[in-house]
Each structure stands twice: as C-alpha cells, then as structure tokens.
C-alpha cells in the first residue's frame, strides 16, 4: 500500500496529497479526452506540411506557431501526444505484468529460486532503464519500442513488488494463516487480490510515468517513433537544430510531455521522494 492510499483523507477534508492525486487523475482524464479526439481537435492532419509560413512564431492564426516545414505546432503537438500515449499504454501493461505482478509472485516461490530471481533482476536494475531499453531495441527492432520500454521499467517495479511481498509474508496474518494450515498458493492468491485491488491504479499510473520518460527519451535519441509518425520525443529531437531561434518548436511538445508525466506521477500518489 502506498503512502497515498494509506492516508488520503483527513477528518476535516482531503489532505494536500489526496488533492494532488485527484488533480493527477483529472489531468490524465483530460489528456485521454485530448488523445481520443486529437483528429477532431487538431486543425490539420498529422504531418501536414506548408499549412502556414515556415517557423512562424505563435500568433492568433497559429497559437503554437509553425515548424521548419510549415506544420501547425498545435496540431502536431496534439498528434504527438496521442502517439506518445498510444505507445506508453502497452508499455505500462508490460511493466505491470513483467514487473509488479511477476515480482509479487516470484517472492512466493521457493526461497532459493526467489532469491536467485531477485539477484538476476537486481543486476538489470543496476543498469539505467534507458540503457536496457536501448539494448532491447538493438536486439530486436524499433517496432518493439513499447515492449522494450515496458521491460526496461520492469526491473525496478519487480524489485519493489518483490520486497513488499516479502514483507507481507512476514506479517502476523501470514504467520497465523500458515499455522492454521492455509496453503502458500491460497495465501498468495488472497494477498494478490488485496494487493492489486488496493494499488492497481496507482501502480499503473506510476508505470505510465516511468515508461513515458523512457519512450520519449528513446524517440529523442532516434530509437523510438519512426517518421512520419512523430511522438513528442521525436518532435523535440527534430527541433534540436533550430530551437534556439524558434523556441516554440521544442517548448510546446516539451510542455505537453511534462504535463503527461506530471499528471501520471500525481495520479500515482507518489510521495515527493518516490521514483516513478
């Protein structure tokens, strides 16, 4: 159980933590709406060039300005956000299964096997997630970028879930359950249900924040989205050559990306000191 779910409300109303968590979910909801309606909300289709003058600054006609090919930055940012979210969702699912769920189950395996797995995954966790993702893409292809991002975020989620499950195993209710003859498998099913009903949403939001950072960084480095399908990371990378005299080409995609990660972090109810 996270700190957020442990003390979300005070007697006289919601705490700051709970309010930030609600704000995070509202923000993610708004982003979901924007992503679903991106084709409708955007005034130009994705990657439509020569919509306006080249590198026009933000104005009444082009609120986010235009880029070096005359693309409307507002429309491109919406399409890029949509692309980023669509890539991040499967990656989130991969992290939840390969990290959180696998870690929880692995902790209940026979002691030797469990500790062996913990050690193996611990080696992966001692490498930056970005490097793991790069390696996974290098070994496969860019088509697998979502899976690579999900798998690279998984070791940290695995270790966290594993350690939490080991703590649960040492609690009094587990000892009593074992003493009364309840099997390990039954106890694990019971703990799994409670664990995931309590923390599924916050774990998913936490994983979303982590994989979004990895995915966008991969695209920024040229390992993610393939042109003409541009996500926010690729848009920012494309702006690298001319953002010094056309700041809006990088600033608006970066702002959209930061908001997505921020809302996911808030929705996860991450304590200020917690990593995504």
């Amino acid at each position: 159980m996270t700190a957020a779910t442990a003390t979300p409300w005070r007697a006289n109303g919601p705490s700051l933590h709970a309010m930030l968590q609600i704000a995070g979910w509202v923000g993610l909801g708004l982003i979901a709406v924007a992503v679903s309606l991106s084709d409708f909300l955007a005034s130009a289709p994705a990657n439509a060039t020569a919509i306006g003058p080249l590198l026009a600054a933000p104005s009444a006609d082009f609120r986010f300005g235009t880029d070096v090919l005359g693309r409307d930055m507002l429309s491109e940012t919406l399409h890029g956000l949509s692309r980023t979210v669509r890539g991040a969702l499967p990656a989130t699912v991969v992290t939840l299964f390969a990290g959180a769920l696998f870690g929880f189950v692995a902790a209940r395996l026979p002691r030797g096997l469990a500790l062996g797995l913990r050690g193996l995954i611990g080696i992966a966790a001692s490498l930056p997630a970005l490097f793991l993702a790069l390696l996974a893409i290098g070994l496969t292809s860019r088509d697998w970028v979502s899976v690579a991002a999900g798998l690279s975020a998984a070791p940290f989620a695995f270790v966290r879930a594993f350690d939490r499950a080991r703590q649960q195993e040492r609690t009094t209710h587990s000892e009593y359950a074992r003493a009364t003859g309840i099997s390990g498998a039954t106890l694990m099913r019971r703990d799994l249900v409670y664990e995931f009903s309590d923390t599924l949403l916050s774990s998913a939001a936490r994983a979303l924040a982590a994989v979004t950072i990895i995915l966008s960084t991969l695209s920024f480095l040229g390992f993610g989205a393939v042109p003409p399908h541009r996500d926010l990371g690729l848009m920012i990378a494309a702006a690298k050559s001319y953002f010094l005299h056309a700041w809006w080409t990088a600033a608006f995609p970066a702002l959209a990306l930061t908001l997505l990660i921020l809302f996911a972090r808030l929705a996860a109810g991450l304590d200020e000191g917690e990593r995504a």
Binding site: L20, S126, L130, S216, D271, G273
Partner: protein
C-alpha cells in the same frame, strides 16, 4: 558493522559476476556464428567469457579498433562528466534537500518537487542550452553532427562554457535524484517514534534535527548512492547526445544503433560495475550514520 559490510560485499561480488556474464552474452552476439542456434551461441558466450577473463573484449565491428582501447578513450570523458555532475548535484541538491527535506517546508515544496521530477532530462538540457545561448551568448553545439570530444579539463574560457552545459545537465539530474533520496529519508525520519521520545526527554526541535535528523537524512542519501549514479549515467547519455560530447555513453548509443556488440559489452559492464560499487560504498557509509541501522 563488519557483518553488514561482509554481506554487502557478497552481494556486490555476486552482482559483478552477473554483470560479467551479461556483458559476455552481449559480446557473444558479435560472433558470426552466435545466431546459428543455442549451442553456437553458448560456445560464443564461453569464448567471450574467456576473453573477458584475459581482458580481451574483442574489437569494434565498425572501426576495427580494440574495444578496451575505445573504452579507455571514451570512458574517462563520461566519468569526468558524471563526477563533475555529482559535484554539482551535491552542491545544489544537498543543501536544498536538507532545507526542504524536513519540517513544514517539506510539505510546502512538495508540488514544486513533483513538477521538477516530471521534466525529462533532454527537455532540461535543451532549456539550459536555450538560456545559455540567448541570455549568456555561450556557444551551444547543435545538430546531429559528429561528436566533438570536448576536453575533459578545459584550457580556455570557451571550453569551460562548452563543458559547463553538459555538466550542468548531468548535475541537475543528479541533484533531482539526490533531492528525491533526501526527501524520502526526511519523510521516513518524520514518522519515527524516537522524535517524540526525544522531545519528552527535553531536547529542542533544533537539537533533535541537527543531532539525530540530519545524520538520518544523510544516511538516506548515501543509501541511495547507487540510484543517484543511475540517474547520472542516464543523464550523461542524453547530455552527450545533446551537446555532441564524445563520451562512453554517447559511444554506447551509437554502438547499439550499429549493432557493434563488442563495444557495447564493456561499456555496459563498466556502467553496471560502477553503479554496484557506488551502491556498496554508499550503503557501507550509511550504516553507521543511521541510528537504527535498519535496511530501507
């Protein structure tokens, strides 16, 4: 303490062995026959492992240069960047973290810390470059040209300016990671029952914070040294890419793109090894500082 250090040393040893096995498996991919099936791969893995034991990491597929030589050329640049970034992280992150890591300031700063934690490092790097170029009129490398290999120790004002941006980018990432570790330790410390007991014994809040609180917070930072190193290495990869800095992290990215596994393997091994060693040193240093010595 000795028992704790021995246990941690055991973990470090096992971790390093695992990292060597992983790196050898990656290096084995450079073998022509490794893709022919499980047995040829295992044979290639064995050969790579034997080579590793003799410090023979093979040679790069693109340049034909010795992998160890390439590592020797590029790794010092990244290490310099990482350690200079670590210095920035400590100079910026620790005072800010201690200041906002405890008491009412911790809650007040929480939303700001959330926003800062949400900014991807490449966005922060570009923002720094923009400020440096437009406000300070510093030279900022742009485009995706060949890495310039900036000098590790700058010899002129121009080189200092060019080196400052990647160092600051890495340092900010490190400061953010240090900040998170300090806040986590501060939050844990705030929940400890010994605070109330010390108050009842007549100690003032200031005494409790300085004598007991700050060492606990510093122990928290040291305990998370491995995590800080991970953040620094990730940031180094991005900073080297953004600022055309020819370090090992940049070489890693390019080598993965070119499937040059003989170069990828030793870089990965050195990064994993350094992170594990930093985590080991941090934990051993944190142990006596933490009053209870309990594991996090």
């Amino acid at each position: 303490m000795l028992r704790f250090a021995m246990r941690e040393a055991g973990k470090l040893g096992l971790g390093l062995v695992g990292a060597v096995l992983l790196a050898a498996a990656i290096a084995a991919l450079a073998d022509r026959h490794a893709g022919d099936g499980a047995l040829p791969f295992l044979a290639a893995w064995g050969r790579a492992l034997t080579g590793f034991l003799h410090l023979d990491f093979g040679s790069g597929a693109m340049t034909g240069a010795d992998a160890l030589g390439e590592l020797g050329t590029h790794l010092p640049l990244t290490l310099g960047l990482v350690f200079e970034g670590l210095a920035v992280a400590l100079i910026v992150g620790v005072p800010v973290g201690v200041m906002f890591g405890s008491g009412p300031a911790r809650r007040a700063a929480a939303p700001l810390v959330q926003v800062v934690s949400a900014v991807p490092i490449f966005s922060a790097g570009l923002a720094l470059a923009y400020v440096a170029a437009t406000v300070l009129h510093w030279p900022v490398p742009r485009g995706t040209g060949v890495a310039t290999g900036l000098a590790l120790v700058p010899h002129s004002g121009r080189e200092v300016e060019a080196l400052l941006l990647p160092v600051l980018t890495v340092g900010l990432a490190g400061a953010a990671a240090a900040q998170l570790a300090l806040r986590r330790a501060g939050a844990e410390g705030a929940r400890q029952p010994w605070r109330m007991h010390l108050r009842r014994m007549g100690l003032t809040a200031f005494e409790i914070e300085t004598i007991y609180g700050v060492p606990q917070i510093m122990a928290g930072l040291l305990w998370s040294l491995g995590e800080v190193m991970l953040a620094l290495f990730s940031a180094a990869a991005v900073a080297e890419w953004v600022f055309n800095y020819a370090g090992a992290a940049d070489l890693f990215v390019k080598s993965v793109a070119l499937h040059d596994w003989a170069i990828v393997a030793p870089i990965l091994l050195s990064f994993a090894g350094l992170t594990m060693i930093a985590a080991f040193i941090g934990r051993c240093a944190a142990y006596p500082l933490a009053a209870t010595g309990t594991e996090r």
